[in-house]
Symmetry: C2
Subunit: 137 residues, 2 copies
Amino acid sequence: MHEVATTNEEDQGLAALKFDVFARGCPARSTLEHVTGRWSILVLGGLDAGPMRFNALLRRVEGVSEKMLAQALQALRRDGFVHREVRTAFPPNVEYSLTPLGRETSAKVRGLIEHLEAHMPQVLAANEHYDQEQISG
Amino acid sequence: MHEVATTNEEDQGLAALKFDVFARGCPARSTLEHVTGRWSILVLGGLDAGPMRFNALLRRVEGVSEKMLAQALQALRRDGFVHREVRTAFPPNVEYSLTPLGRETSAKVRGLIEHLEAHMPQVLAANEHYDQEQISG
DNA sequence: CGGGATCCGAGACGATACTG
DNA sequence: CAGTATCGTCTCGGATCCCG
């Protein structure tokens, strides 16, 4: 089974070798899917701007439904990337923020997002080139 | 050199502002989905090790079906991340490799994957903590 | 070996309605 | 405001067969 109760750095290093996303049942694969899911990745990227409330996120991630946002937030929370803070008041006030691990992860995600955004002209050009080839070929 | 219409930094800045994954119909969003898709991200990470043939990839990305691998490769190829080279011989020999853009992108993806693999103990601990809270709460 | 075509079930997803 | 519950749609994805 998974022996992952580690406190010192040596054990951390050895434990890391046990996780391989390319392997069939590896838990790292599902975690990767939680992070890179259609909406999760945008939630993670969105929270990178700072703590946000539910409806603020709903507006920031255009097109997401309440159901999908709630679902994505739950998965990210379960994996320890997102923190949920409830302030009992009226009207109810719930704030979502990144945990330290969430911030590290979000930084990588944002790096990927910004890299893609910056190279979109190149991607769109590749699209057209590919489509032209399909017609002639 | 395959430059994409931009020589000065002003155009770069303006072009970059045009693509926002958080916006509804932005093409960058679908590109992001192609890259971070369930199998695509593993294909991209797998090809990072070097050029590979179809069945080699099929074995490396454990659990992927022929259909899904072919589909992921097509999308990555259309977006200009992956190059396909056919050698007419018998038996047929087809090799897949990363384009320059693909290598840059794969590096980011790989960084994310390795970061997650390294922190899996922390994630699994968060899972257990979360599940315990659900029972008591 | 490297795929394409087809069928089909499971789950993702969106819209709506309802609750604390 | 911050969700949960329910339902219908529709895409994803696996299994299988087939072809160059």
